[in-house]
Symmetry: C2
Subunit: 302 residues, 2 copies
Amino acid sequence: MRTIQKLGEVGLIERMKRRLSRRPGVLVGIGDDAAVLRTPRAGKLLFASDMIVEGVHFDRSKTPADLIGWKALACNVSDIAVMGGSPLWAVVSLGLPPKTPIHVVDEIYRGLERGARQFDLSIVGGDTVRAPCIIVDVAIIGQLWRKNPILRSGARLGDDLYVTGTLGGSYASGHHARFIPRLKEAQSLLRKVSIHAMMDLSDGLALDLWQMSYASERVLRVEASRVPVARTAQGLSEALHGGEDFELLFAAAADDSKRVPKQLKACPVTKIGWVVKKGIGVELEYPDGRVEKLKPRGFRHF
Amino acid sequence: MRTIQKLGEVGLIERMKRRLSRRPGVLVGIGDDAAVLRTPRAGKLLFASDMIVEGVHFDRSKTPADLIGWKALACNVSDIAVMGGSPLWAVVSLGLPPKTPIHVVDEIYRGLERGARQFDLSIVGGDTVRAPCIIVDVAIIGQLWRKNPILRSGARLGDDLYVTGTLGGSYASGHHARFIPRLKEAQSLLRKVSIHAMMDLSDGLALDLWQMSYASERVLRVEASRVPVARTAQGLSEALHGGEDFELLFAAAADDSKRVPKQLKACPVTKIGWVVKKGIGVELEYPDGRVEKLKPRGFRHF
């Protein structure tokens, strides 16, 4: 089997260049020390990165290699989408064991390129290094297509809380690597509704609610019966704590609730709760009226 | 000992925010899904990333943790410098084993922050994930302060080749993690001389010359006696193939040679050879006139 050890770094980069398409605005792409990009005429830039590691964010025996590339790009596109932006350019740092078969790298790039085409961005450079396992780190530049970014710190008293899609069971069902970032849905929502705070659900609803609570300094309450549990999830607990749903979590004024669509094409939008008061905390309300503190437990990074 | 497993990701990010300074142009920094940056008024953007992996690019028993952070940022600053740019913003993806002591992470951030201050850039976000070893991937955005970027593809017939500093022995001497990227030197040279091609020496002079040759489609020749061998290097071979020198390699018209300074403050600038003819290849000329092909052997990534 041909491995990347035989191909070497220069061979790898050449292979990569041939596989990736280039969109307007890229003056110099892959192959030099840095990419040269035409600055978007107006507006603000968004800049983020997300790293995925074999054995932590994907399992090589279960995740086809092209989905490794897809996932690495998709979670970055998701970060740009929830800020109210659209992606422009990405660089990819790839860590690979020397014995990695070439076709695995090709498939990772195929997944990256598929994402680049679908979300209309260019992969313009990066780095390729030896590592003990497969690591894909994508850094992304996006453009804010509206005046102000949507932050996770903007939830206010009187806001309702919403999520898109269904939650839980992401890892077991393979959704974690196949998901389509909610770029169109975020843009569509932002055109219809004045959204005060938004973020993507990556660490699990409970932990992400905590992050919004912490940033907004507001106590958030979720109604247990309203949480849209995925068919693949094993009950509410997994929907609350499973992680890697990559759905949207957002806050909008209760007065605005009529403008929030119940459905965006095939994607449901569900009201799950509301902003209770000033302070930091997340509460779970059961159908019998009992209210519990929801612990900030979710995807454990460490 | 307190490890990052105890601190958790949210704790880590908070710690990071407190440690990193923020420069103008950063509208939203660490803590949201993406950073929001004010687009530089004019000019083109540079975008690059460089990943360093424990056991490959540094040895934890020999490299103090703050130098891990320093190195990760410095090699990115170097990429921006050689394009004719200056750094603006960086995001840092950090992979860490759960048992990493907190003080190690603090020191990595201290090194990153030291670099950010010295090179006047802001670290505006990133990611922190579990990994089997320490991985630091930095993505950097720079600004081109001149009209056109300097590429590695610009070497022409009639050009001489130059390097800054001395080469070889970088890993053994610790230079690979302590080096100061040649940002000022690149800027100073570009103001004085019309440089046709430039890149940084990361994979070893021989391999990097091959890359310039390949990109420029010119055969390059180096005089063995002119290569500035570092005192810490074990002879010419290490200066040619050692790697991680992070010095500048550049090509400028022989007619322009009087404008090339011999010294930039403490940093020597040495003419090492010239562009021979069209084609791809690198030659080594010995004092007795013998000319050998120089093999593209250098730092092996795989």
